[in-house]
């Protein structure tokens, strides 16, 4: 069973191949992780899948539908959501409004009704607000409902991004370094949250440097190096793969 398929994907920046003829398959359900040293192309891969970059070659297929080159906002409709390595919070809005933007596709976004604030809009907003509260509580941000995002701590903002992505009711959520910049306690909380998301039937694709987190939650790991697939498999496969150990611990160069 395949949910998302990346076929022979390539993308270069200024002559340097960031992603080089890469193929991979995501099955529905389990938590997938993408790891690799800095500059291996992980974030580029995310940006390609979520439509922010246009690929130089290859295809991206979501459940047999070719989504290569789709408008980014249409991907949300198809059930693809993501968070960002560098926070992309709407700092001009409160926490709950951030989440409500995530429900945009299910809201009445007609212009005229909005201008006149029809009962439909008011009712819709009330429902969305309740739903947003539920999501914020789900990511353990119940204390921050109407908070100014400007004044929220970094760890909370990371979870807010996750809640916002969940608000689109995705089938796949791509998390780009959710633990970066967090202290160990916060990292453990994220760990739990990722599992909770997965238990709700959402397929998680994770890019993360924190190996304890990755090894703890992942069912399938892809290891990238230099834009290519170095290895893939279960946690055990990866741990015992000499190429991976070499890439990470840097003995490869010495032995060759």
């Amino acid at each position: 069973m395949t949910l998302l398929r990346v076929e022979n994907l390539s993308r270069s920046f200024g002559g340097i191949k960031a992603i080089d003829d890469l193929s991979l398959t995501i099955r529905p359900g389990p938590i997938h992780s993408i790891i690799g040293p800095n500059g291996a192309g992980k974030t580029t891969l995310f940006n390609l899948i979520s439509g922010i970059y246009k690929p130089g070659g290859g295809r991206i297929v979501l459940e047999d539908a070719d989504i290569t080159g789709h408008a980014i906002w249409r991907l949300a409709e198809l059930g693809l959501a993501r968070t960002f390595q560098n926070l992309q919070i709407f700092f001009n809005m409160s926490a709950i409004e951030n989440v409500m933007v995530g429900m945009h596709l299910k809201s009445d976004s007609r212009f005229i009704t909005s201008l006149f604030r029809t009962p439909g809009i008011v009712k819709g907003d009330q429902d969305k607000r309740e739903e947003a509260i539920r999501l914020l509580e789900f990511v353990d941000l119940g204390d921050y409902l109407d908070a100014d995002t400007d004044s929220m701590p970094y760890g909370a903002l990371k979870r807010l991004e996750i809640a916002r992505a969940l608000a689109t009711q995705p089938r796949i959520i791509m998390l780009d370094e959710p633990a970066a910049g967090l202290n160990p306690a916060e990292t453990v909380a994220i760990d739990g949250l990722i599992q909770k998301i997965s238990e709700n039937g959402i397929t998680v694709i994770l890019v993360e440097h924190d190996m304890r987190l990755v090894m703890g939650v992942s069912e399938h790991i892809f290891v990238l190096e230099g834009g290519r697939m170095l290895a893939e498999g279960t946690v055990a496969d990866i741990r015992n793969n000499p190429d991976v150990v070499a890439a990470y611990l840097g003995e490869s160069g010495r032995d060759r």
């Binding site: 408008a71 906002w73 919070i89 709407f90 009445d108 976004s109 909005s114």
Partner: protein, 314 residues
């Protein structure tokens, strides 16, 4: 659901109260005139604020739309004898179409390129209005007949005061509604982070185009009213300087604050009148005030002062 159960209700009520009380404090028609201009500028600025403050897109050419509205009203009523309301609507429709056509390519631009693009658009509009002098009277402008609706011709500053006040209140009400709606949230999201908004399913281009067209139409309508009220217009109404004044009103009052737009319009309409006292030093003082406010109150007057009052709970 009561129609008054809306975001910004207290502010709106206070605005209405101010409008009711203000006439008692205005000694003569000259002061009414200034307040009417404040009202008209406020209306344009509320629209522009949707674009700049909420959607985060700058425009240095909005006076162009104001000017088109003004000239359509002027030409269609005086030269072709149209009813004022029809002229106003046609002006707004033309501006709507023009801004819609131009919005897609122009809203693709970022930062300074967007500033240049909108500036260029405004300048071209001014040049057309200046050069087509057979229609527009050229750089020296043209007179505009009074407004009339269903045979009624409002005349005199006090009557206009109430007309503009009503339009202003309606604009504030609609603007507050819009901002609090899903459309408004989408706009604000575009400002917060285009890329994040897009990944959440917001069609960023569509919303940018929408708000650009909306703010242009508002400017056009205000331009029409201005033309009929003031009775004489020149291409300066569409000029670069006027565009800059409008943007400055929005930024000075406080971006992303509907009442900030009103406050900014009020201050920058009154300031030059006060500065005529300084005669020769007028520009010097005005420039210094602009620089100073922007450095020390970067977020604009109303949000900064509001924070001072609130003690900014961070």
């Amino acid at each position: 659901m009561s129609p008054l159960n809306m975001p910004g209700r207290n502010g709106l009520l206070a605005l209405i109260a101010t409008i009711m009380v203000l006439p008692l404090m205005l000694p003569n028609a000259f002061y009414f005139d200034i307040v009417i201009l404040i009202g008209l500028n406020s209306i344009v600025c509320i629209g522009l604020n949707l674009l700049i403050g909420y959607a985060g897109q700058i425009s240095l050419g909005h006076a162009g739309f104001f000017g088109i509205g003004a000239y359509f009203s002027a030409i269609l009523t005086s030269t072709y004898g149209w009813p004022a309301t029809a002229a106003m609507v046609v002006g707004a429709v033309v501006v709507g179409l023009l801004s819609f056509i131009i919005a897609r390519p122009i809203m693709k631009l970022q930062g300074h390129y967007l500033a240049m693009g909108t500036l260029g658009l405004g300048v071209i509009i001014t040049i057309v209005l200046t050069q087509e002098s057979d229609l527009t009277g050229g750089p020296d402008g043209m007179p505009v007949p009074g407004f009339s609706i269903f045979g009624w011709e409002p005349y005199g500053e006090t009557v206009w005061y109430w007309i503009i006040a009503a339009v202003l209140v309606a604009t504030v009400w609609l603007s507050l509604n819009l901002i609090a709606s899903p459309v408004g949230r989408a706009l604000r999201a575009v400002h917060g982070s285009e890329i994040a908004a897009e990944t959440l399913g917001v069609n960023v281009v569509k919303y940018k185009v929408l708000v650009f067209v909306l703010s242009a139409i508002i400017a056009s309508l205000a331009g029409s009213l201005f033309a009929h009220y003031t009775g004489f217009i020149t291409p300066d109404t569409s000029g670069f300087i006027h565009s800059i004044q409008l943007v400055t009103m929005v930024v000075l009052g406080g971006m992303a604050s509907t009442f900030g737009a009103v406050a900014g319009a009020a201050i920058l309409t009154i300031l030059p009148q006060l500065l005529t006292v300084f005669h020769d030093y007028e520009h010097l003082v005005f420039g210094a005030v602009l620089i100073g406010t922007m450095i020390f109150m970067r977020r604009g007057l109303v949000p900064t002062l509001a924070d001072l009052f609130n003690g900014r709970q961070k």
